[in-house]
Amino acid sequence: MRAPLLVALWALLAFEAIGGLVIFFARLAAGTLPGEAAHVYAGIALTFAYAAYQWGHWNRVAPFRARLDYALGLIAAVALALTQLSGFALAWPWWLARGTATPAAYGSLLSGAHNVMSMFVLTFVGAHLGAVLQRDARTRRGAIL
């Protein structure tokens, strides 16, 4: 395996994205939060994996350039940081309420912000990756011609 950290990051991101969508839907439709604990623990793991990956990634691509792929990557990075921060803020009432009969009281604005930032992460990670792959393909075509 050439990039185990990247694979771990993608796996955690996929787990968090699918788990988050399941929680979003179930919370709305049925008032339940399936896999809430797993979402929190995987979120903690994602934070560490992402921090390690971003450190190496930045050392490879620095300095910042005025290009679309850089701008999209920056938005994705900021969105992921805000998602993790809002996630930790949401995890606090969950931690306090664990093992009790009372459900955790999540602030609706914080919950909404976490959902929006998560969507920004998926959108701008996808757009950043797409822009980089498209740019690389164009460079390869140019080299062949």
């Binding site: 979003f24 919370r27 439709a29 008032g31 679309l68 959902n115 929006v116 969507m119 797409g130």
Partner: protein, 148 residues
């Protein structure tokens, strides 16, 4: 029934956002300059204002938010499922719009320029159908909730 100002604003602004999305696609389809500023403006507005609103409403409607339990009880199960489906569709449509817009912008910058949406009619029409369903479902939910 009283219509919250933010709900009304969101329902109306979604139509303007849709006009912006259609304009971006049409410019590319008719081989004209990509309106990058409009694309970014629409993407940020949709993300920060309308999706924020949708997520807030979704959190309110879930019934687990402390201050909004009364509002949650006022929604039927069908409406809750409708909100959830609309929320997921909106997220998907937004993601696809931004990614395809980035592709279209980059392809137009090539020499000679390429026309992303024009060269992929099946993808373009599928995206537009998804967008219209996403926005349409929101407008229907708005009408059922406040005008029905």
């Amino acid at each position: 029934m009283h219509i919250p100002a933010f709900s009304l604003f969101s329902a109306i602004s979604e139509l303007f956002v849709t006009a912006g999305v259609l304009f971006v696609v049409r410019r590319n389809w008719t081989r004209r300059t990509f309106p990058f500023a409009l694309f970014i403006g629409v993407a940020l507005f949709e993300g920060l204002i309308n999706v924020m609103y949708m997520a807030k409403r979704a959190a309110d409607a879930s019934g687990t938010a402390v201050a909004t339990e009364a509002a949650a009880h006022a929604l039927s199960a069908v409406m809750k499922i409708g909100f959830a489906v609309h929320g997921l569709l909106s997220l998907l449509a937004y993601l696809v719009f931004v990614v395809l817009g980035v592709f279209a912008h980059q392809e137009q910058q090539q020499d000679p320029p390429r026309w992303f949406f024009r060269e992929r009619p099946a993808l373009t029409w599928t995206f537009l159908a998804l967008w219209v369903i996403s926005i349409g479902s929101g407008e229907v939910l708005f009408a059922l909730r406040y005008l029905g």
